[in-house]
Amino acid sequence: MNAPRLIAAFIARRPLSWTFHVLVLAASIAVILATLLLRQAVETRLRRDVAGIDLVVGAKGSPLQLVMSSLMHVDAPTGNIPLDVWRNLEREPLVESAIPLALGDSVGDARIVGTTAAFERLYGASLAAGRSRSRPMEAVVGAEAAERLGLDVGDRFRGVHGLSGGDHAHDQPYRVVGVLEPTGAVIDRLVLTDLGSVWRLHGEEGAAEDGAAHRHGGPDADHAREITAVLVRYRSPLAAVVLPPRVAATPNLIGASPARETTRLAALTDIGAQGLTQLGGALLVLSGAGFVVAMASVLLGRRRDLAVLRALGMSPVRLTSILVAEGMLLGGLGGVAGVALGRLAAGWAIARAPGLNLALAPAGLPDLAIVGAGLGLGALAAVLPAVIAVRVEPAAVLNGAAA
């Protein structure tokens, strides 16, 4: 016989009631936690992928689409722009770095990005195997892409025209010369090569392709020297004032601020998230109140047992602490179940949208804090009725016949 056994016996007397209260408490915690986790996952993803880029310059179209395609690599590009746009930006004194991107091909579900070595530096990616690319038709593969495609150093693969399982493969194969360490950023899912390789493939096969972006006469023709976008990092705050208007004034060019676009995107998702959080909050208040009421009615209804334990010599303090422990056990159970349910729900939502490549934040302090809050709620719910119930004179309760 011990306190846990006594607590278990007390709880087991009302199995349905406590299951209900703990589950409702857990569900309301789960709604809030899942919403916060998803929001956090989206924000983390956006922040990582933006990687300190101040401006994305690309062909005219939606700025959100430009940011999504050139930084998140989820949407279709807005079109092509002349290589000179990059060259001019690179020479610009207000610009710290300008990275050209040539998009349009893919292998499996990974996008092939023609770019300079500055791209790897942008994401702080280091090599896990092999070496950096130095010649045309050499490719460095991101960690996740390498794993998903089963590519390793020395392997050859053919790029496919189009961003998602396009219709025809280019003749010339790429050779994998390096595989990157995982970074947690979008680069993990990309295949990197140099601009020349992309131009070469599209130049050779230009005759077979249509569309303004891919009309080529030969490998060195001027219009083959086109890129999709330029990622720009400012050198000074002044650039934010000077550069965007200049880009906007250039025909067929737009500049998009990743910070502004992602904030707009986050604001859209926030409306939903806020609604859910408020719903969860309302549920939490209701379930917490229900829990408190249930605890009070159970403890006050247990006076007889408490009187017996007091009559058998148990001190009021010890008895009260057992009852508070019972409340903490139930509240803590609600917290643990809430964290588990919330993480399960968030994980499920993330798994349903693999293209967004969201990652659940690892369990940590916030989860512990929720369990702690559950324990606190339980203790709070139990302490007042426990004190009241224990204070009752045992004789007054047990004096059945003579009272």
């Binding site: 016989m1 009559a311 058998l312 047990l398 059945g400 003579a402």
Partner: protein, 224 residues
């Protein structure tokens, strides 16, 4: 240990001096002074409603006396601080309530072990089993308390009261709703228990059938 009545006078296990009972601030009854030595038993009798249970609870230290004192093993029990009285009650006084008052959800054996648990004393499962076995409950050790018959529940309550080897055994209306055969059986059990453990026993009752076995009587008189 056999008690030899011819030996020197034994110290009283339970003694009441000038005990007056009150309920709700109103003086209720007066209990004649008495003392009980080891293994002795007495009935606490009086007219209905005079406060027999109140008197029993006063002897148990669950209620303060309006006047007078209760001594257990010659210690001034009723004058102790509440915490010390709780401690002493857990270890020296065995209580059998009128309706057994077992803890539902716990097994028979656990209900007996609640006594040392509440008193903060070491628990001995073998002792609990032995006590229950002698009360004819060996077959229901792990049955939940709420699934016992009335008679079984009362015997579990007796085992619980005996577990701590109390100096004093206080029993409230043990035969109230029993037929003659069962009343005699319970009376026999109690007499045997008191004799074996050497406890002084007080049985609050209005049941005349118990007088044959427990001739000594403590009379509670209404006051005012």
């Amino acid at each position: 240990m056999a008690f030899d009545p011819t030996s020197v006078r034994e110290a009283a296990r339970l003694r009441a001096n000038g005990l007056r009972l009150a309920r709700g601030g109103r003086l209720l009854a007066r209990l004649a002074d008495f003392e009980l030595t080891s293994g002795k038993a007495a009935l606490l009798v009086g007219p209905s409603g005079v406060g027999k249970t109140t008197a029993l609870f006063t002897l148990a230290g669950l209620l303060p006396p309006a006047a007078g004192e209760v001594r257990v093993d010659d210690a001034p029990f009723s004058a102790l601080l509440a915490a010390e009285r709780d401690r002493l009650r857990g270890r020296r006084i065995g209580l059998v309530f009128q309706d057994a008052a077992l803890v539902a959800g716990l097994t028979v054996q656990e209900n007996v072990l609640v006594a040392p648990f509440a008193a903060g004393a070491p628990q001995d499962r073998a002792r609990a089993e032995d006590l229950l076995g002698r009360l004819g409950l060996a077959g229901v050790l792990s049955r939940p308390a709420e699934r016992l018959s009335r008679g079984q529940a009362q015997r579990v309550a007796i085992a619980r009261a005996l577990y701590m080897r109390p100096s004093v055994l206080l029993v409230d209306e043990p035969t109230a709703s029993l037929d003659d055969a069962h009343a005699a059986q319970v009376a026999g059990l109690l007499a045997e228990a008191a004799r074996e453990t050497g406890a002084a026993m007080v049985i609050a009752t209005h049941d005349g059938r118990l007088r044959a076995r427990f001739p000594r009587m403590l009379t509670l008189e209404a006051v005012g």
